[in-house]
């Protein structure tokens, strides 16, 4: 940084193709996402039902609790001895999600190893329904899903919780991907600014390109000690095709798709985000702009599979920029 003038910084960022928030809002979200389509992605239940209609894999829906009078259905909806997750349909940023590993009668085992009594879960449900976790405190519904199995390969990279994969899809083309790994510092949460690790993923092969924590490159997971150069996402082409199909499903031109891998059921759609953040650029160490421009230049209409083929060829990370592989 020889030149300290902010204008030259801005020029440098522009030449690297970094997209800023103003540009994201105006040129991508406002221009490509019709506001009337937002409710389908802002409500997890609607997203889920829509995905089922389009044959896109999502975690099993055990049931929905719509109102306070229905909270007693909890026992009927959750199988004895198995795990499940309760989510506020309109929660944002992973707030208000309760993961139960196992239910034994009146007692519920949380992911953290703490036992909850049934009345604690009921109180949590009633808070959720009255809008404690939803934006603006709107009344909400509780979505109960079957537990996602950890993929044993990926689980070793995460401190707690299921690692999810964010793919930004522009006009149906997957343009950039990132995996978010919670750490002890991030308290099990997957928010990058709270200390979670963002791992940039090569669009072509599904391998780690680089990893950052607090915007700084890291080589190994600080809690599990696993080196990121070993990280490779299984079923990568299938996962990309699912994300590409979200374009037809929602009609949103610029969307963040959050995916998880279940070892038995393969890639699944967790949720969609109509305003995906920009940290994915830092995780990948490259800007979104050139890739978005490349997609805008494509006028041919393609099926999801063909779009994935195109994206894998066009947005592959060159070998010299990838992490060196061990053997």
């Amino acid at each position: 940084m020889a030149d300290w003038s902010p204008f030259s910084w801005a020029r440098r960022l522009r030449s690297l193709g970094i997209v800023g928030l103003n540009q994201r809002n105006l040129s991508y979200i406002n221009a490509h996402n019709d506001r009337s389509l937002f409710p389908t992605v802002d409500d997890k239940l609607q997203t889920k039902l829509l995905a089922q209609k389009h044959g896109i894999n999502t975690p099993t829906l055990l049931g929905v609790i719509h109102s306070q009078v229905e909270v007693d259905r909890l026992d009927a909806l959750t199988p004895e001895g198995q795990g499940f997750a309760i989510k506020p349909a309109q929660g944002s940023g992973g707030k208000g999600i309760l993961v139960i590993q196992r239910r034994e009668g009146e007692h519920f085992l949380k992911a953290s190893g703490v036992w909850l009594h049934r009345r604690d879960v009921l109180r949590y449900l009633s808070n959720l329904l009255s809008g404690l976790y939803s934006l603006g405190g709107k009344p909400d519904v509780a979505v109960i899903e079957g537990l996602i199995e950890f993929d044993p390969h990926l689980a070793r990279f995460s401190f707690e919780g299921v690692p999810d994969i964010r793919v930004v899809v522009f006009r149906g083309y997957p343009v950039m991907a990132m995996m978010r790994l919670s750490t002890r510092a991030s308290d099990g949460k997957a928010n990058l600014h709270q200390g979670a690790i963002g791992v940039g993923i090569d669009i072509d092969r599904g391998r780690a390109v680089r990893a950052v924590q607090y915007d700084r490159p890291v080589d190994v997971h600080p809690d599990t000690g696993k080196p990121f150069r070993d990280l490779e996402i299984p079923d990568w082409p299938e996962l990309l095709e699912l994300t590409a199909r979200c374009y037809e499903m929602t009609g949103l031109g610029y969307v963040g798709t959050d995916m998880v891998i279940d070892p038995n059921r393969g890639p699944m759609l967790l949720e969609l985000n109509a305003r995906p953040g920009l940290a994915i650029q830092t995780a990948n160490g490259c800007g979104l702009q050139p890739r978005l421009d490349r997609v805008l230049a494509e006028t041919a209409l393609r099926a999801p599979a063909a779009r994935v083929t195109f994206a894998r060829a066009a947005f592959a990370t060159p070998p010299e920029r990838s992490l060196p592989r061990a053997g």
Binding site: M1, A2, R12, L13, G20, N22, A31, Q194, R216
Partner: protein, 506 residues
């Protein structure tokens, strides 16, 4: 559906051109000065008379001032649909009289006068001194009055110095005799009685303390004292003596201020506004077309104009918020909360405003923590916070008043509902994202509010926004342009700095 960017630029350009054009038109055609203080001061004073009429003939008579020492009557008008109006002089005092054959229900009539401050101005007519009345005190007061008079008389040489000595005694809170008189009489009345007892002609008259933007003021009684040559001076017992240019004598013969026949529950209140607009900028008879074309807020009643002074500053505050968020990337708690905060700072002072804000938010967060244990629904929780904020503000007001700090009385200007929401949001932010995020958004809000305050407090900004309404269009155009900015925010240069550093290394 979405218009191309060029359309946006055209809209902004047209708004800008219209705004600048109207501004120059105002300057050239109406001689509105570019900067405040380059012309003489004008005071618009409006008397609003309210009464309840019972269906009979109604007659309303209001004493009104003429050109007097320090002020020249520049123009006057009345607003009173359905009433006949005439004005007359009686014993050296001018009156405006409204008459109607039949009036029913709540009635409001307005009188408005415009006065130019002029140190050379002298009244056109003389007033006759009253004959000193015979004064009778109750026995305990008699002694006190005699003692005050004796002391004051010995220290004085003529009527005016006697009046000065009496004013000093009545203003002395240690003087037992004066306090005894004041427990029975108002200061002005007590002074008139004392002077009359000394056979000095004096009477209680009424005038207005001129303060910019005040509404619903009542006139204050002052004492008019005559010497042997029928010259008179005003004395302000029990009050701070205002500057000559800030006191307008409204009624100068000791007669009634307002008389209403055929009505009940009558009262008169005054609003006042200071402008630097020259005489030619003031339309004498503003027709509707003229008012619309000139977009002149000056044709509104003064009490409305005073409100507009604040409202017309809001676009500037909104623009500062837009700049802070779009160009700098400052995170604030609640988008336009900083603007309301800045308005409150304008009414108080910056330092006391910041201290109050921090106190209310700090204590509010503590209270909100306690509330969390009650496990309430959202709307109920915020309502409880609102009541707590009101309680806090009342408490601080009382405490600061008794500590001798004057700011407390003005705390009520704080946007209470907005503060309650801020506390609620910050408290949730604290639970979910930790105190760092709270400090970040809190300081962001405060910095934006201070920036908005610093711009809105500039006298020439206030002058421009109030006198050149075309500038509102210019602000609008600037905000539209800012709304289409796709470049980086200053905060993003920091956020993406790893790219810059790696680029430099590579």
């Amino acid at each position: 559906m979405k218009l191309p960017r060029s359309a946006l630029l055209w809209v902004a350009a047209i708004l800008m051109a219209a705004g600048v054009g109207h501004t120059f038109y105002r300057h050239l055609e109406h001689d509105v000065p570019w900067f405040p203080g380059t012309t003489q001061e004008l005071w618009d004073v409006e008397a609003m008379i309210e009464f309840r009429a019972g269906g009979e003939p109604a007659r309303v008579r209001l004493a009104v001032p003429d050109t007097q020492t320090g002020f020249v009557l520049q123009g006057e008008n009345t607003a009173s649909p359905g009433y006949g109006i005439h004005s007359e002089h009686r014993d050296g005092q001018r009156y405006v009289e409204w008459t109607a054959r039949e009036a029913r229900g709540a009635q409001v009539v307005y009188y408005r006068g415009q006065y130019r401050t002029d140190p050379q101005a002298e009244p056109a007519r003389e007033v006759q001194p009253p004959d000193p009345r015979e004064v009778i005190w109750s026995p305990p007061l008699q002694t006190a009055a005699n003692q005050i008079l004796r002391g004051a008389y010995q220290e004085s040489a003529d009527a005016f110095s006697l009046a000065r000595a009496i004013t000093a005694r009545l203003g002395d809170s240690e003087d037992q005799n004066a306090q005894l008189l004041l427990s029975e009489f108002e200061a002005a009345e007590a002074m008139v009685r004392l002077l009359n007892q000394a056979e000095v002609p004096a009477r209680s008259v009424r005038g207005l303390n001129l303060e910019d933007g005040r509404r619903r003021q009542s006139p204050i009684p002052v004492v008019q004292v005559f010497d042997d040559d029928n010259e008179w001076q005003l004395f302000f017992p029990g009050e701070e003596r205002p500057a000559q240019s800030e006191f307008l004598l409204w009624e100068r013969t000791g007669g009634p201020l307002l008389e209403v026949e055929g009505g009940s529950d009558s009262r008169v209140t005054f609003s006042m506004l200071k402008t630097s607009q020259p005489i030619t900028g003031m339309p004498d008879d503003p027709s509707l077309a003229d008012a619309v074309f000139n977009l002149t807020i000056h044709s509104l009643p003064i009490s409305e104009q005073a409100i507009f002074m604040s409202i017309l500053l809001l676009p500037i505050g909104a623009m500062i918020v837009v700049l802070a968020r779009v160009f700098v990337g400052i995170e604030t708690s609640g988008t336009f909360m900083p603007v309301l905060l800045a308005l409150a700072f304008l009414k108080m002072s910056l330092l006391s405003g910041i201290v109050t804000f921090l106190l209310v938010i700090g204590f509010g967060l503590l209270l909100r923590q306690a509330l969390a244990h009650l496990n309430l629904l959202l709307v109920a929780r915020v309502s409880v916070v609102i009541i707590c904020v009101i309680g806090l503000i009342s408490l601080f007001s009382v405490l600061s008043f008794h500590a001798g700090i004057d700011i407390g009385l003005k705390m009520a200007f704080f946007p209470i509902i907005i503060l309650a929401w801020t506390i609620e949001r910050m408290s949730i932010l604290w639970e979910e994202n930790g105190p760092r995020e709270v400090a970040k958004q809190g300081s962001g809000s405060l910095i934006t509010a201070i920036a908005a305050y610093s711009v809105m407090a500039l006298p020439w900004v206030q002058h421009w926004m109030f006198n050149f309404l075309g500038l509102q269009l210019v602000v609008l155009a600037l905000i539209i342009l800012a709304g289409s900015y796709t470049g980086y925010r200053v905060s993003e240069l920091w956020r993406f700095r790893p790219f810059l550093q790696e680029g430099a290394r590579g």
